[in-house]
């Protein structure tokens, strides 16, 4: 049962990351087209409002995906000398620190997103592009980040209980 939850979360974050990463293509193209319009055609059009939103989406949706592959770097030189079991115990303790970060963050983001949706919030730039859809993505990103932390936590617990962790 727990293993199913872990592999479910892993699959969800893998899917999210591998879908969101395609945003690099429109992102690159928009920045390149922007240069062309601005410097060659001398007819600027504010793509920048869209590109910064794409960037933001990449960052928030990539958070859980990055964690899935242990991509959030830490200073593990000392800890990596301990036995696997000790390392897992440390990680289980650290999970509560993780919650202390992501809990308030998710709480704050939820309220912020809720307000943004209610007011149909828009960017304060000249184009006034709506920003509330991005805020929904930020909410989802933080939620997925939190879920991935929970999945790692369950994996560590399962490992200590003698069962093999989730997939991979």
């Amino acid at each position: 049962m727990l293993k199913k939850i872990v592999s479910g979360i892993n699959a969800l974050n893998r899917w999210t990351g591998e879908t969101a990463m395609w945003l690099f293509i429109p992102f690159t193209l928009l920045v390149a087209i922007d240069v062309f319009q601005r410097r060659v055609l001398h007819h600027p059009w504010y793509y920048i409002d869209i590109t910064v939103q794409l960037m933001s989406a990449l960052v928030v949706l990539g958070a859980g995906y990055c964690m899935l592959y242990d991509g959030h770097i830490g200073m593990d030189i000392i800890v990596s000398r301990f036995s696997e079991k000790t390392q897992r115990i440390i990680k289980i303790i650290l999970f509560f620190f993780f919650l202390a970060c992501l809990g308030p963050l998710l709480w704050g983001v939820t309220i912020d997103t809720w307000n943004a949706v209610l007011t149909k919030e828009a960017q304060t730039t000249s184009m006034g592009l709506p920003i509330y859809p991005l805020k929904i993505l930020i909410f989802l990103g933080v939620l997925l980040f939190l879920l991935q932390g929970i999945a790692k936590f369950i994996e560590d617990i399962l490992f200590l209980m003698g069962k093999s962790g989730g997939e991979e």
Binding site: G17, E18, A20, M21, W22, F24, F27, T28, L29, L30, V31, A32, D34, V35, R38, R39, I48, T51, V52, Q53, M55, S56, L58, V59, V60, L61, G62, A63, Y65, C66, Y69, G71, H72, I73, G74, M75, D76, I77, I78, V79, S80, Q87, I90, L94, F97, F98, A100, C101, P104, L105, G108, V109, I111, D112, T113, L134, K135, I138, V142
Partner: protein, 437 residues
């Protein structure tokens, strides 16, 4: 609680949580949140969601994901292989030539990508087996690859420099250009060291036998391999220097150019593209979350007044400004031995920079010197990122110890280059001051 106590508590908390191996991004965020709850009020936590939205939608930062993606694409593009082929043909007949070629190719790759991983990984895959086959000394072989890779962050474009510029309030474009001469100087010293060493001791890097060398006409034909990289460098750095594009725009052009290069070398397959995008989104998320955590952390420093406290303490200490400068350099160097450059920049720059300005040092020069200092961390144990990249390729016959030993002479050279830039600030500041505004 006095400010001194608060400063001490924050430092101890941060160090205590960092050494557990907890992700740096979350360590910074945790201390930020805990501190705000303790010394301000829980209500102040409303800044948390804004740390995400403000940092991730800042147009200044567009350069980051763009140069990361550009590096990811170039890594699978086959550009490194083509370049190495060119340099092999020109240098293989000289003693130590293959190691020198490795540094030269790494330098060019560094000028097209923002990180050190592209050069280290590409050269580790193609140059390492080649030099091994030709009987090069293992240490020279490994040293040239890792040190060449470490040039990545010094020679623009550079992810590290974007971060330094962002957190030290400098112009990215100027800092980029400031890195050109010191970068070429360091690369030149590396190559000189290799060639002199092998000239004196030919067994370290034997020249390949005359019958295997290529003709002059082949050498000139092979220059084709250098056309695309040089074109990319012109588009990215040349345009920034000429004031045609901002660094962010140059990043977009560069990433687009990298895609074109991959297509020209017939390596733009869906599988390669996916590899590049997958690693890019992970690195982008990793770096940005450290920035987000760092923003939470620095708002704590601002709310409690700790940053001002440290600045006043140091500026008011009446120590010689060079003593203060040296202490800062040592702090960054020691942190660099244990940590990645991103968190070091984010933690130290907001504290150091006001002091540097108050002491009337040139901020641009300081930013460049800090970048060079951070590079040393790429090659020093125990956390030598360049070596980890190399280990990641999976050559079984190389131990971490081999790598540390191999890098030692190159670290020494880099320290010399750093000293030269400290003593002759013009090396860093002359070129950017010539820039078209």
């Amino acid at each position: 609680m006095s400010l001194a106590m608060i400063t001490l508590t924050i430092s101890v908390m941060l160090l205590g949580i960092l050494i557990t191996g907890f992700p740096v991004a979350l360590s910074l965020m945790f201390v930020g949140i805990a501190g705000i709850v303790m010394w301000a009020s829980p209500a102040a936590l409303v800044i948390l969601p804004s740390t995400i939205i403000i940092t991730t939608t800042k147009d200044f930062f567009i350069a980051l994901p763009m140069f990361i993606f550009m590096a990811g694409v170039l890594q699978v593009s086959g550009l490194g292989t083509a370049l190495y082929d060119t340099f092999w043909k020109w240098f293989a007949g000289v003693r130590g030539g293959l190691a020198a070629a490795t540094v030269a190719v790494s330098t060019l790759l560094a000028a097209t990508t923002g990180s050190g991983s592209t050069a280290t990984v590409t050269m580790g895959m193609i140059a390492y087996p080649e030099m091994k086959k030709r009987g090069y000394s293992k240490y020279l072989n490994l040293g040239s690859i890792c040190s060449g890779g470490s040039l990545g962050p010094l020679i623009p474009p550079s992810i590290t420099m974007i971060l330094v510029a962002a957190f030290a309030d400098l112009s990215i474009g100027k800092l980029f250009i400031a890195g050109v001469l010191p970068g070429l100087l360091t690369a030149g010293l590396f190559i000189a060291y290799i060639l002199i060493r092998c000239y004196l001791r030919p067994e370290m890097g034997p020249a390949i036998p005359p019958e295997e060398r290529v003709s002059w006409s082949d050498k000139f034909v092979s220059l084709r391999g250098a056309i695309l990289p040089i074109l990319l460098i012109v588009i990215v750095l040349g345009f920034i220097y000429a004031g045609i594009t901002t660094p962010s725009e140059a990043g977009g052009m560069g990433a687009f150019g990298a895609l074109c290069c991959a297509a020209i070398y017939r390596n733009l397959t869906v599988a390669n593209l996916k590899t590049a995008m997958a690693s890019s989104i992970r690195i982008t998320a990793m770096i940005f979350w450290i920035i987000i955590g760092g923003t939470a952390f620095s708002s704590l420093l601002a709310i409690t007044g700790v940053s001002n406290f440290i600045a006043e303490l140091i500026v008011g200490s009446e120590l010689n400004r060079w003593v203060i400068f040296t202490i800062m350099m040592i702090i960054i160097f020691v942190l660099g031995m244990f940590m990645d450059s991103t968190p070091i920049v984010i933690i130290t720059m907001p504290i150091f920079m006001p002091i540097i300005r108050a002491l009337e040092f040139d901020p641009l020069w300081f930013g460049l010197v800090v970048t060079m200092n951070l590079l040393l961390g790429f090659l020093t144990p125990p956390f030598g990122l360049s070596m980890f990249y190399f280990k990641g390729i999976g050559h079984k016959d190389v131990s971490m110890m081999d790598l540390y030993r191999a890098c030692l002479p190159f670290v020494t050279i880099m320290v010399i280059a750093l000293f030269l830039c400290i003593v002759f600030p013009g090396l860093a500041t002359w070129l950017p001051n010539q820039m078209i505004q």
